[in-house]
């Protein structure tokens, strides 16, 4: 089943080409759309909602053409924008009920759905307070709630983890995972961090400068991200040298070392090297692949 598909999608603005011959297909589940700022993510979302006309090419969402069926698409698709979009003088409940009605739900149904959805995103007593006093985390939850309130078949989430602290980020990612699996709503989520999408997505699409860089299932990506980040208090150079001698590939990255995992033994080698050099190990973690890493690697995968 295809949730959305684009074919040679191009959008040119007077100064820049935001999308350049983009052809992708997205299936059910959670799909990550990764790209640096200005890669064309938001432009793609606007086209998918039928709010912007492509200069060339076509796009289909849930089997409907975006150029002709915009209103029908927007009826069963939810959208969470990247920017702030909440009037500060309304409470989360009032706002979510109103947005449900704007999607065509009758008033009583809108009330029920709003209460349900706000509970699901984790807003309880505070939902009766004016949103002006909310923290960024709470605002992000309301933004997500208004995108889900009409029980869409697909939600487009534009940078939902923006501005959140690490804990809030984890909670938001867990919520996105739940939307995709438990709620049975397909998700297209954008981010400029591949590492965080890796944890929740079934499929990842990487675009840069409006061009498709890669589109593949998450399994293929994790194979690519076999690096370990090592941070030691002192003696980083000594460790790098030792690992080099032992035949590992090491790249210094600021205060950290990125060690390529060629086989499970690499972890043992690393552990032993740290012990032998008697270093103070601060951090050892599975490499979070960042968007730049994808650009560095050959695209022929």
């Amino acid at each position: 089943m295809t949730i959305l598909a684009t074919e040679g999608l191009t959008r040119r603005f007077p100064r820049v080409t935001a999308l350049d011959q983009l052809t992708v297909t997205v299936g059910p589940g959670v799909t990550g759309l990764v790209g640096a700022n200005g890669a064309g993510k938001s432009t793609l979302i606007k086209i998918l909602l039928g709010l912007l006309e492509p200069s060339a090419g076509r796009a289909q969402v849930l089997g409907m053409d975006t150029a002709t069926k915009g209103a029908e698409i927007r009826r069963i698709v939810g959208y969470m924008p990247e920017h702030d979009c909440l009037p500060p003088d309304l409470s989360a409940t009032e706002f979510t009920v109103h947005m449900a009605q704007m999607s065509g739900l009758p008033r009583t149904a809108a009330r029920e759905r709003a209460a349900d959805v706000l509970r699901h995103v984790g807003l309880y007593e505070e939902r009766y307070r004016a949103m002006g006093g909310y923290s960024t985390g709470m605002k992000q939850r309301v933004k997500l709630a208004q995108a889900l309130v009409h029980d869409p078949r697909l939600v487009l989430l534009d940078e939902p983890t923006n501005g959140l602290d690490p804990q809030g980020r984890d909670e938001m990612l867990a919520l996105i995972r739940r939307i995709g699996s438990e709620f049975g709503i397909s998700v297209l989520v954008t981010s400029h961090l591949l590492g965080e999408l890796e944890r929740v997505c079934d499929h990842v699409i990487v675009i840069d400068g409006g061009k498709l860089l890669r589109s593949s299932a998450i399994g293929e990506f994790t194979q690519q991200t076999q690096t370990v980040t090592v941070e030691v208090e002192e003696g980083q150079d000594a460790l790098a040298a030792r690992l080099g001698e032992l035949g590992e590939t090491v790249t210094p990255h600021g205060r950290m070392l990125l060690v390529h995992v060629r086989a499970p033994e690499t972890f043992d080698v690393l552990r032993d090297a740290v012990c032998e050099l008697d270093l103070c190990l601060v951090r050892l973690e599975q490499g979070r692949q960042r968007i730049e890493d994808v650009f560095r690697e050959p695209v022929n995968v």
């Binding site: 209103a71 927007r74 947005m99 704007m102 065509g104």
Partner: protein
């Protein structure tokens, strides 16, 4: 998709399979939401103060007129004069509340959310205009109706002014439509509420001052015919001339004399042109806002 089985601690996510109504429902919901916002209903107590104080002020002449009718048995205020006499209050309400209807959506960027729903730009603009028109109509129609009810209850000797009342209600609709279009159009150009308030009130003061000064100058020069045209610079006299005098043949408000002959027709044309211009400006404004 499979429903979770055997889970009892959480009822889980429930899908919605009820009715999904069309654009009309959504537009109506937006209009009602905006109308409530204009009067501060469902908002903080502070945002109710200005609209309700102004509603109170608008009711004062009606109450005083009823008192005059009841106590000294004399006729009170004429229905068709009501809007012209209270024009400053109407203008203040328009200036203070029309930015409330449009500015927050621009400032807090709620507009993209509306546009991600089935409604179109036209629906959005239509709903906002409908809400402001309804608000202005209520502001004017409620005191007029109170006055009429008072007149019927007191039952002075002589005819009740039913025709005059109905004429003034038609006029109220005309005032509401023209003022709402002007107010919303001007207010929509800035996301800052304060600036919106200032712009609308400045526009009203300018129109009213220019109209009065021009009338004075022309009259002192002895050019009464030209002076009469000067009234039509003020939108309040435009509606009075077009609807009350033009369509229903009522006497002009207070001591005003409108240009004879084509005067009412021209007033009608001015009214329609101003409404058309406002709507065009609004659509152009929102096309630009939406493409951001």
């Amino acid at each position: 998709m499979s429903e979770p089985t055997g889970v009892i601690h959480d009822i889980g996510y429930r899908h919605y399979d009820g009715a999904r109504l069309g654009r009309g429902h959504a537009t109506a919901a937006l209009a009602v939401h905006s109308l409530r916002g204009i009067f501060g209903l469902g908002r903080t107590a502070r945002s109710k103060i200005i609209p309700f104080v102004l509603v109170g002020v608008m009711l004062l002449p009606a109450v005083v007129s009823i008192a005059i009718m009841a106590l000294i048995k004399q006729e009170g205020m004429r229905y068709t004069e009501y809007a012209v006499i209270m024009q400053a209050v109407l203008a203040i309400f328009l200036a203070s509340q029309s930015p409330y209807a449009v500015a927050p959506d621009l400032r807090f960027r709620v507009l993209p959310l509306y546009l991600s729903r089935p409604v179109t730009l036209w629906d959005y603009v239509g709903a906002k205009l409908a809400a402001m028109t309804a608000a202005m109509f209520l502001l004017l129609a409620v005191p007029l109706t109170v006055l009429f009810v008072g007149e019927v209850v007191i039952d002075l000797p002589g005819d009740t002014h039913t025709v005059e009342y109905l004429t003034s209600m038609a006029g109220a609709a005309g005032y509401a439509l023209l003022l709402a279009c002007l107010g919303i159009a001007v207010a929509s150009f800035t996301p800052r509420r304060g600036l919106g308030v200032a712009s609308v009130i400045a526009l009203y003061l300018l129109a009213s001052a220019v109209s009065t000064v021009l009338f004075g100058v022309l009259e002192s020069m002895g050019d009464d015919a030209a002076a009469a045209w000067a009234w039509l610079i003020n939108p309040f006299f435009v509606v009075d001339a077009a609807v009350h005098v033009g369509i229903f043949g009522a006497t002009p408000a207070s001591n005003v004399i409108y240009p004879p002959g084509a005067g009412s027709l021209v007033a009608g044309v001015i009214m329609i042109a101003l409404i058309g211009l406002s709507v065009t400006a609004l659509i152009a404004r929102y096309r630009k806002a939406a493409s951001r």
